[in-house]
Symmetry: C2
Subunit: 226 residues, 2 copies
Amino acid sequence: MVVKVYVDWRSQPCRSLIIFLKNTKIPFEIETITLKDGIHKKPEFVKMNPLCTVPAIQDGDFGMGETVAIIRYLATKYADLVPDHWYPKDLEKRARVDEYMAFHHTGTRGGCGGIFFSEIAMPFLSGGKQHASEERLKTDTENLTKQLDKLENAFLQDNDWLAGDDISVADVLAVSEMMQNTINGRDVTEGRPKLKAFVDRVTNRLNPIFDEVHAVLFEFRANYKK
Amino acid sequence: MVVKVYVDWRSQPCRSLIIFLKNTKIPFEIETITLKDGIHKKPEFVKMNPLCTVPAIQDGDFGMGETVAIIRYLATKYADLVPDHWYPKDLEKRARVDEYMAFHHTGTRGGCGGIFFSEIAMPFLSGGKQHASEERLKTDTENLTKQLDKLENAFLQDNDWLAGDDISVADVLAVSEMMQNTINGRDVTEGRPKLKAFVDRVTNRLNPIFDEVHAVLFEFRANYKK
């Protein structure tokens, strides 16, 4: 049985999930959808994932959303098809990955996604009509700094990877978020040498899959510059 | 061996973790700390949890932070001492709890915590000097509505509990966040009959432990009114 994975390539969590899956032998097929077409609000999709978010999966009769929960479900169900370092079975090693994945939502994603929304998504989605206020940009920038400092000074202080001694889903999730900020040329690694080396380390390790999965983002970025 | 659990009773996630633990036979002892005393920034604490957040645990040589990751670690290590419904072992049932716990960070906690910070914490922590702008209060209120609607219309649509057919850690996490908003009399269940019945259902099921663990919050609330 093949897991059906619903993705919008403009979504960071979708790209993370596909990068993970392509590094495993889990049988899956991609169903590409576009959030702006509203497919995620149609009854069939809502039944699979009432949160109406992407990514979502349909695995036989079982449907669900939420990237980190999907990763856990698939890595447990198909444990033999997932190289251990992606989501280790060892109790303490797994706890480290879980710890990062809990931080991730309001940490890396909160920091990078907040400023991305204000600087890029809000003006873009409103056709240039809406712009974030100075106050909001200030709050977003302060939060970005706070979260990136945690990556630099806590997670990466003595480590090459965010959680453990090899690459894991934690690293994939983090770097996928940071890529979003490259669209308008914001370098979130600036002044953070460990984070900078880390992003290079992760992208090098994940290529060529990393670039393939980011094709839509790279195209958007190229057009955004014009 | 006893798990040492560092909590500040004013923290929602701390209260959630203790409510969970008190419903299990996991051997633990509570170390009460007060964030405003800065203990979470001292070397001993930082070594245990470099994120400098509460709750944190020290389990022999192993230290970690992040509530939902701690719950997973303890529920796995002490699987026989945790009644199954709190964090089910069945793959699909566990996936439902994980799905809610992933949503929780920016969902229930994001919605309830955002407006709590603006309405209560910011003025309180600054001694009345700082107040959230109208713009910020508007953003917080809109986000609160959005997240509460997801609880009412997605998670609780056809269910008594947020994840599955019995109470789980998902419900504990959610209601602990919502309690924070009662401090200034905000009723997040207003106009949401399913959510209202749900909060009553969870608190009734969790008592007397629920009220014991919320003693500090109830005291703060009583003083806040004056």
